[in-house]
């Protein structure tokens, strides 16, 4: 029997006076890999931030593993958008990965050798060991995203939220990241990913959540990822994407 690890009830949130999310209801089962898709301004990032209490909740409840967020915080990992940080910050790749352990290291202590060892292992896993000492502004977009992924892995969380981890990365990095996500899923971890490329949704995710200010559709990719649901989520102006989607299907067969 699969266990429900996230229950969202009647969630709503706003930026200033504009409501960006309303009546959001869904449940996530353990070991699923869910792609969150929707048009620009649909509230995808806001949804993640609201779930993680980085953005104020107007109404509704969120349960992780049957607990409120604060009680489950230690087993939840978050990968913010790459563009949300200043890559000119004076630090190197290894240091950024170590930050994933800061919550666990505790007050008044600095990372020790075993922490560095753990961070180094994760960098290696992402194919970034050679860049450990590299100043982060000197990494390519794909390499920066790999560092962010390594930082998430070192947290060893049970539930990961990732905000557009594939945005602006090279093909090799995209494959590496997807391989890691599949591996996390096989380990029984749950992952939710904000995704922007409709053409790859069916290949990458076993579950899909269509979002446009509220949940339009959510469930198994095979039954839910349909043209009708895409049209309902994106509205009328998505004809070209649908066409591309069809041509993509033709190509791959």
């Amino acid at each position: 029997m699969t266990e429900t690890v996230l229950k969202v009830n009647n969630l709503s949130a706003s930026y200033r006076k504009n409501t960006v999310l309303h009546d959001v209801n869904f449940q996530i089962n353990q070991g699923t890999l869910t792609g969150i898709v929707g048009p620009n301004g649909a509230g995808k990032s806001t949804l993640i931030k609201t779930l993680l209490q980085l953005h104020p909740t107007l109404t509704g409840t969120v349960d992780f593993f049957g607990l409120p967020f604060k009680a489950a915080q230690q087993v939840i990992g978050y990968v913010p958008q790459r563009g949300s940080v200043d890559w000119d910050f004076p630090t190197n790749a290894l240091d950024v990965v170590l930050m994933g352990l800061y919550g666990r290291i505790g007050w008044l202590k600095l990372p020790n050798r075993s922490h560095k060892q753990m961070a180094m292992e994760k960098l290696e896993k992402m194919g970034m060991a050679a860049y450990a000492d590299r100043q982060i502004s000197q990494l390519s977009g794909g390499q920066q995203q790999r560092v962010f992924l390594a930082r998430a892995l070192v947290q060893d969380a049970d539930f990961y939220f990732m905000d557009e981890p594939l945005a602006g990365v090279d093909a090799a990095t995209e494959r590496a990241i997807m391989a890691i996500l599949k591996e996390l899923k096989e380990q029984g971890k749950t992952v939710m990913v904000v995704h922007h490329d409709l053409q790859t949704v069916a290949d990458y995710y076993d579950h899909v959540l269509f979002l446009n200010k509220t949940v339009v559709a959510h469930g198994d990719t095979t039954s839910i990822f349909t043209k009708e649901n895409i049209a309902r989520t994106y509205g009328g102006n998505m004809r070209w994407t649908l066409k591309e989607e069809e041509s993509h299907v033709v190509h791959s067969q």
């Binding site: 978050y78 200043d86 910050f89 004076p90 630090t91 240091d95 930050m99």
Partner: protein
């Protein structure tokens, strides 16, 4: 000790504490906030004086912390109503500073507080206003206060080193890890406030901004490592203070202005000559 030694020591203490705090002002992109707090602490000092009728030591520090926190809170509050961050900083600090100026002119009268002094500082008068401390003996009040603030600043930076780092680099991740980002923000604002108020007597509200921002901005150009950036910033701050003093003595001009000018010269040298981010090395890289 001679007056010169006290003045140089005071200047060095200003340079040290300001340049260390300044590193995080730059990395948190809050340079403008330093400008704001350096002015609003005046209101804090005046109000503290009106309540306690004393103008030294802990009263001033507490008044400054409250003024700094009120400034940060008001800026945040205005920002919520769709007013742009820098506009809200501009509105809040000028208003609070104006209240301070009005209070000085009307209520404080002939006490040792005047607007000229608050803006420009007067480091040459510092050796005359002394207190007697246990073990140390007679020490200028401003020097004693700066030493205390420097200790607080260094201890806070070392004790919360990784928290400063992560909340400056990636506050969203920090919050998701359970690190109290908001508390760290206001703690930092308190540190800026006490540093500013302690430096007030020596260099005044305007020049303190130069000491806070410029050494750190120069250090940023030389290194890619936070710990080295802190050390370099401190070095630039101290050297500017010493060079500033002797230039002022030589030209017989304002010490605080010379110190601020020295920080500007350090920045110019860094901006042109730094091997990593300097203009000359950039030009050479394009040419080659």
């Amino acid at each position: 000790m001679t007056y010169t030694v006290w003045i140089v020591l005071t200047a060095v203490l200003v340079g040290l504490s300001c340049s260390l705090i300044g590193v995080f002002l730059i990395l948190r992109k809050m340079a403008m906030m330093a400008d704001a707090i350096s002015h609003t602490v005046l209101l804090g000092i005046v109000v503290a004086f009106l309540i306690t009728k004393e103008i030294s030591g802990p009263h001033m520090l507490i008044g400054a912390i409250i003024a700094g926190l009120v400034t940060a809170l008001l800026v945040q509050w205005l920002h919520q109503f769709d007013i742009e961050q820098h506009a809200s900083i501009g509105i809040v600090f000028t208003t609070l500073f104006a209240i301070g100026v009005i209070l000085i002119a009307t209520s404080v009268g002939n006490a040792h507080l005047d607007v000229q002094h608050a803006l420009m500082g007067e480091i040459t008068f510092i050796p005359w206003d002394t207190i007697t401390l246990p073990f140390v003996g007679k020490v200028p009040v401003a020097t004693a206060m700066l030493s205390l603030v420097l200790v607080i600043v260094i201890v806070s930076i070392i004790a919360f080193y990784k928290e400063w780092k992560i909340t400056s680099f990636d506050p969203a991740l920090a919050a998701s890890l359970g690190i109290p980002v908001v508390f760290m923000h206001y703690l930092f604002m308190s540190l800026v406030s006490i540093t500013t108020v302690a430096s007030f007597d020596a260099v005044g509200a305007i020049m303190v901004v130069a000491m806070l921002i410029t050494p750190a901005a120069s250090a940023y150009l030389w290194t890619d490592k936070l710990s080295i950036m802190l050390l370099l910033s401190a070095l630039f701050g101290v050297t500017s203070a010493i060079v500033g003093y002797y230039v002022a003595a030589w030209l017989d001009t304002s010490i605080s202005a010379s110190m601020a000018f020295a920080t500007g010269i350090f920045f110019l040298i860094s901006f042109l000559g730094s091997p990593k981010h300097g203009l000359i090395s950039k030009y050479n890289r394009i040419a080659s």
